[in-house]
């Protein structure tokens, strides 16, 4: 193999070997995370029996008042409008736990036809939050998001190097021929190449957007970048007065439809900081942007338009910033696209497993292993799935905080052990080499 090709192969091999588990976990959790809104909707409908009675218009004033009375210290409140006619309306807010001082987010379901509270849940203990946080930060609070970003960079590295060495490894093998009857190693090596090249662009998009989304806070901090659309209306009244202001929601939505006809409102946020405003966030059909990024800000007092953000008319930098999340989660083409993303998202997991199997078979004779390669793969895979399931159960039953604590110990402890093992192994190899050199010199 030419020198360049050997270097590329080494990079592909080492990046894949050391980050394969991370890529595999992100692949599995990502394939599920694509369907978070749909999964949550099913849970709302069937577990919480939350739905809206058909009626003209949306009615939630009394329910909102009830919530404010039950949680007088609630803040950062926003209202999620239903997507479909029979879906429940959601009210999302934060409260400070008086005993622990921790911030807790609650989500209440409202029958928007009869203006009735149907139930509620602590958002952080929900399955939807678990699926998102596991994928976005591996349930590790300190630097989990950056670790996921590094996973994105690793996927980018293996994808690019894999493309560059594809021809050399295919040689005279045509796409998509599988060489049968030559053992599992050859079969999996062929599947690895075929799936890798077939889903290459998809994996590149996932890698680049994933790396950006994971590392974004740090990158923006280092480069002193500002997020687009950081409109802050001036404070004009006391905060308490602002919170008590009555809002004509029907009229607000009418004004929104007039000012921004293409906007499908999805989130309503009344101000609490003294600015006396209502922010209405939503989507424009056919846009490839993250959810709820288009915005209209109205004055609470006279519903006058104060600000409008239509990402379609904004500079390229804004559009590039807001396209990342939608491109990463396939949230721009309906259920059919999500299904495609779900299937293609699993390819990177398969590639990490097949690559590992090929590595184990290749080094089987050199290393004295107690177990066969397939057994090792099964133990790793089953172990990881079990861990994900256990963390999910802890999060759903005991809460978000204990689950993140445990995951933090596992990830950080695991990384420390890996580093220590690598250092000790390296020292042992060096000592062994020195001893062998000494023995050869003595014989001579």
């Amino acid at each position: 193999m030419a020198k360049n090709q050997r270097v590329l192969w080494r990079i592909h091999h080492w990046a894949g070997l050391y980050t394969g588990i991370l890529i595999g976990v992100l692949s599995l959790t990502g394939a599920l995370a694509v369907f978070i809104p749909e999964i949550d909707l099913l849970i709302q409908k069937h577990y919480y029996a939350a739905s809206s009675t058909p009626a003209s218009g949306l009615h939630f004033r009394e329910s909102l008042q009830q919530i404010r009375e039950e949680y007088p210290g609630c803040y950062a409140l926003y209202i999620n409008l239903p997507d479909g006619p029979e879906e429940a309306l959601g009210v999302n807010f934060l409260v400070n736990n008086p005993e622990t001082g921790d911030r807790e987010r609650y989500y209440y379901f409202i029958d928007a036809g009869r203006d009735r509270i149907l139930g509620g849940r602590e958002h952080e203990s929900s399955l939807a939050n678990y699926l998102r946080q596991m994928h976005v930060r591996l349930y590790e609070r300190t630097w989990g998001r950056q670790l996921v970003g590094i996973g994105g960079l690793a996927l980018l590295t293996v994808a690019v190097t894999g493309l560059l060495i594809y021809g050399k490894f295919m040689k005279r093998q045509a796409y998509p021929v599988l060489r049968k009857g030559r053992g599992l190693r050859i079969l999996l090596a062929d599947w690895h190449k075929i799936l890798g090249i077939s889903a290459l662009v998809f994996n590149l998009v996932i890698a680049v957007t994933g790396a950006w989304l994971g590392l974004q806070p740090r990158i923006m901090q280092w480069l002193d970048m500002q997020a687009p659309n950081t409109f802050q209306p001036p404070r004009i009244i006391p905060s308490e007065t602002d919170k008590q202001m009555e809002i004509d929601w029907d009229r607000a939505l009418q004004v929104t439809a007039w000012e921004f006809p293409d906007l499908r409102p999805r989130v309503l946020r009344p101000s609490e900081d003294g600015s006396g405003t209502i922010s209405i966030y939503g989507n424009v059909k056919g846009g490839i942007y993250e959810r709820y990024i288009n915005q209209v800000v109205l004055s609470k007092k006279d519903l006058k338009l104060l600000y409008k953000y239509d990402v379609r008319g904004k500079p390229f930098g804004h559009q590039l910033y807001f396209v990342q999340e939608a491109l990463h989660f396939g949230d721009f083409g309906g259920l059919a696209l999500k299904a495609l993303y779900g299937v293609l998202g699993l390819t990177s997991g398969f590639l990490s497993i097949s690559g590992f199997v090929v590595f184990l078979y290749r080094t089987d004779k050199r290393k004295e292993r107690k177990s066969r390669p397939l057994k090792i793969i099964f133990i790793y895979s089953a172990g990881i799935v079990l861990l994900l399931a256990v963390i999910a159960l802890i999060s759903l039953l005991a809460g978000y905080a204990p689950a993140t604590r445990i995951m933090g110990w596992i990830i950080n402890g695991g990384l420390v052990c890996l580093v220590v093992f690598a250092i000790v192994n390296g020292i042992r190899k060096k000592l062994k080499q020195r001893q062998q050199t000494k023995m050869v010199n003595v014989k001579c």
Binding site: Q173, Y175, V201, A336, L337, L340
Partner: protein
């Protein structure tokens, strides 16, 4: 020798390029279908044709069919980007 060169050109360059464009084409078609449905018949037809040509080129491994389908889809994509 010529046969080997042709094989390498098709298998190691054109087929991967075609697959890359096929990835984009499938997503493009699904997106148009969900965003605009049949109201943008021209774009839907062009992208569907590109999908057919790309798939055929990859299956039958015809050098000129692959080249043509790749160029056709790139043109359709560029026009679509300019228009929207």
């Amino acid at each position: 020798m010529q046969k080997m060169k042709n094989f390498r050109t098709v298998e190691h360059y054109l087929v991967p390029f075609g697959l890359a464009l096929l990835n984009i084409c499938v997503v493009h078609l699904i997106w148009i279908g969900s965003a605009r449905g049949l109201s943008d018949l021209k774009t839907v037809s062009a992208v569907s044709l590109a999908l057919l040509l790309l798939s055929s080129g990859i299956i039958f491994k015809r050098k000129f069919l692959l080249l043509l389908s790749c160029l056709f889809y790139l043109a359709a994509l560029l026009i679509s980007l300019i228009r929207h």
